[in-house]
């Protein structure tokens, strides 16, 4: 395979502990590559460091050690101004479809803001916004409306449109479907896949849900307490995990099928008894 679009080498992140001098190591020298047009899943439970890795790539948390390379350039410690230039290439979709849109701005303004910031004229920006709204399958009338008028799934479509509007090459998706209802979740995942096929954008897909990983990710890295414990193809890791933690994670996720779930539960009880012994 050619050089990856994004390469993370031995990345370490420390968080200050409130009220103490010591720090907490959230990421423990992890390495990860994402190719162009590829969707890489980052799966783990709360506190595993998966969101921290996403934030570090976005430049939202300071890096303690290691290196992040994007398109051949070192972006580990960028100045704010250099970061702003990178905004055209790396974008984000957050988990919370309620908090991630400024409630006092219209959808049109929310989507045009990244474009006008980059120096595009308002008319050209509006045209791009219109196209993007079409892309995420929202009616063009949403431009003048405000975030609170939309359901969670519709807001997430708006957030995706905002991420895509500058035609980035990588989008960090931080649990983008976990706040959504099941039926909405499936539709949004399909949208992610379709947009990736159409635009060739890469995704870093942060999630706690192995089902989501299986559905959208080409490759996956499993995180546990700041370390990557297993990497591999999305379908093989989620069907046939090698690492003991990944196996426990898989066996703990209930399946929507009573017979299959009874078997899985039996396996989970076995694993639990093994690890207790």
């Amino acid at each position: 395979m050619s050089t990856p679009l994004l390469s993370v080498q031995d990345l370490a992140i420390d968080y200050p502990l409130p009220g103490r001098r010591k720090t907490f190591r959230a990421l423990n020298e992890v390495s990860l590559d994402i190719g162009a047009g590829e969707c890489v899943g980052l799966v783990g439970e709360s506190g595993s460091g998966k969101s921290t890795l996403g934030k570090a790539i976005l430049g939202l948390v300071p890096v303690a050690g290691g290196q992040i390379t994007f398109d051949g350039a070192d972006i580990t410690h960028l100045t704010r101004a250099a970061r702003r230039k990178l905004a055209a290439s790396i974008q984000v979709v957050f988990q919370d479809p309620y908090g991630s849109l400024d409630p006092s701005m219209s959808v049109g303004d929310i989507l045009a803001e990244p474009l006008t910031t980059s120096g595009l004229g308002r008319r050209a920006a509006d045209a791009a916004v219109k196209e993007m709204i079409d892309r995420v399958k929202l009616p063009s009338t949403v431009v003048g409306r405000f975030p609170h008028e939309f359901s969670g799934g519709q807001r997430q479509r708006i957030a995706i449109a905002r991420a895509l509007v500058r035609k980035p090459r990588l989008i960090v998706c931080d649990e983008p479907v976990s706040a959504l209802d099941l039926t909405t979740q499936a539709a949004i995942l399909d949208l992610f896949i379709e947009l990736q096929r159409d635009t060739g954008v890469s995704y870093l897909f942060v999630t706690h849900d192995l089902g989501v990983v299986r559905r959208v990710c080409h490759r996956v890295a499993v995180m546990y307490r700041g370390d990557i414990v297993e990497t591999g193809r999305g379908d093989s890791v989620t069907a046939n995990p090698q690492d003991p933690y990944t196996r426990r994670l898989l066996m703990a996720s209930p399946i929507a099928n009573p017979q299959a779930q009874a078997e899985r539960r039996a396996k989970w009880l076995e694993l639990r008894a093994d690890s207790a012994a």
Binding site: C39, E45, S46, L58, G59, L60, R80, R83, R84, K85, A88, V92, F94, D96, G99, S100, L101, D102, S104, M105, E113, P114, T117, S118, F146, H148, A159, R162, R166, D181, L182, T183, A186, L189, I193, H208, D209, L210, G211, V212, R214, R215, V216, H218, R233, G234, D235, T238, A239, R248, L249, A252, S253, P254, I255, A256, N257, P258, Q261, R265
Partner: protein, 597 residues
Amino acid sequence: MTAPLTDNIDPRAARRGSVLGRFLRRPAGAISLGVFAVVVLVAVFAPLLAPHDPNFVDLSLFKAPPSAAHPLGGDSTGRDILSRLLFGARTTLIGAAIAIAVAVGIGVPSGLAAGYFGGVFDKIATWVSDALQAVPGMIILLIVAAASRNSFTFIMITVGVFLMPGYFRLTRSTTLTVRNEAYIDAAIVSGLSNTRILAKHVIKAVYAPIIIQTALTAGMAMGMQAGLQFLGIGSANTPGWGAMMNDGFTAILTDPLLLLWPSLALGITIAALAVMGSTLSDVLSVRQPAPRRKRRPAAPSSVDDATTGALHYEPAAAAVQVRNLKVSYPGADADIEVVHGIDLDVAPGEVLGIVGESGSGKSQTVFSILDLLPAAGVASCDALWIGGRDVSALDRKDRHKLLGSKLGYVPQEPMTNLDPSYTIGYQLIEPLRSVHKLGRTEARERAIGVLTRVGIHDPARVMRSYPHQLSGGMAQRVLIAGAISGHPSVLIADEPTTALDVTVQAEVLELLRELQQEYGMALVIVTHNFGVVADICDRVAVMKHGEIVEVGDVATIFTNPANDYTRELIAASLDDAASRTELDAAYDTTERKAVNA
């Protein structure tokens, strides 16, 4: 001091419709604004309106009664009261404006910077603001007055400095809230500069509370100014309401009117500002529905409307049976019904799942059974059988006697469902002592017993802990321990694993299953996750928009769902869905076909 009115400002409200329009539609808003506008006009046009020079002394006017030339009479120096009153408005407003300009000018920018950037500046600015609030301002004002030879401007600037912490704290806390919103992170990633983020996103959230704060702070500034004038501070040639009140107060026994006019002027102006602030706050606030006292309407709802769901057991044999349950909330115009008449029951020893997406009414249903709906919600039903008895007619107190002993409840979010101020031990022992009337040692032993039973290895230490010292999974075990400590016959769990990690979810489900079998309880479990249903439930009711679309045993529902929506929900679970590799392969094939065709 931060005014109390800025607590519930809804950032969306600043935009919804015309704020001014809604402000003026309220009588309090229109009247207070009108009064204040009159004061402002009087202040601006005082030289034109005043019949006399406010400082001209006419000895014949000494405490003179009202006359045609002097409608309010004269003061104790022989000056025209009306003229002094009109010019006093000017002094009052200019003074307040100076103080507000200083307070806003320092407080808002420093609050923005402290809240947005944090760091050392935040620490220093917060300390200075706190220190200013610890100094009795009047004493410093008197020093400044003496030092500046009673300079009106200097005094009002100092007043502004003492009013500054109110703005600083308000701006800082609002900014801090906004700073933590994901949309600010999104704006940073979008490439916006700090200046632009502050100007476009933060200021918008800050300005409404500041306007409200200003209405109240202006009143406080006027009060302080008048107070200083009352103490005799300020030039004798500047007509001020406080000075006039002092003049009137010395003559209170002989000429009470001298005190009345300036007091009225000051009181009305400050009250108008206060009411303006309060009305604006109301207009911009999140609407809280008025709670209703009436609980269950006496008359049973009309018989002809159809219910959804089905009953499987004789009422007396069911652990819980509810007939034609409706739940409604007061809306803007009429009541909004969120559960539309459902029938549901569960037998002892049975696990019933209630499954649906957000807004389906599944949680409302169980809270109605528990009688723990939010204050505004109203539930009605034809019958509610719990443990072989129809309890629908019982009053609230008797209904609540069922809680803990007949009905146990396990909530969704473990970290917010324990009282943060009490130890775990206290929270477990309190109901055992006060509800179940156990003795001290007995209650303690029972608490330790249930904690051990739910898988906590170190119950004595956990009993001494506070909720914030526990992990989410541990807190959920504590909550389950609390729910079963009274040996209820029905355990109602509202999304008990949704907030938990998958590995913890499996543990909690396993625990619930064991406890249910051990105690022979009926378990009602509310969830949106069909995996959870498949794992633990015997029967399941599928809800959508406040109705039960299908109810049946788990095997049938999964293998042969009768309802389209049930089918759609099960299909939306990703377990058996095609993986990305399979999807891509299929896509490539169709693409190739399309190209070949």
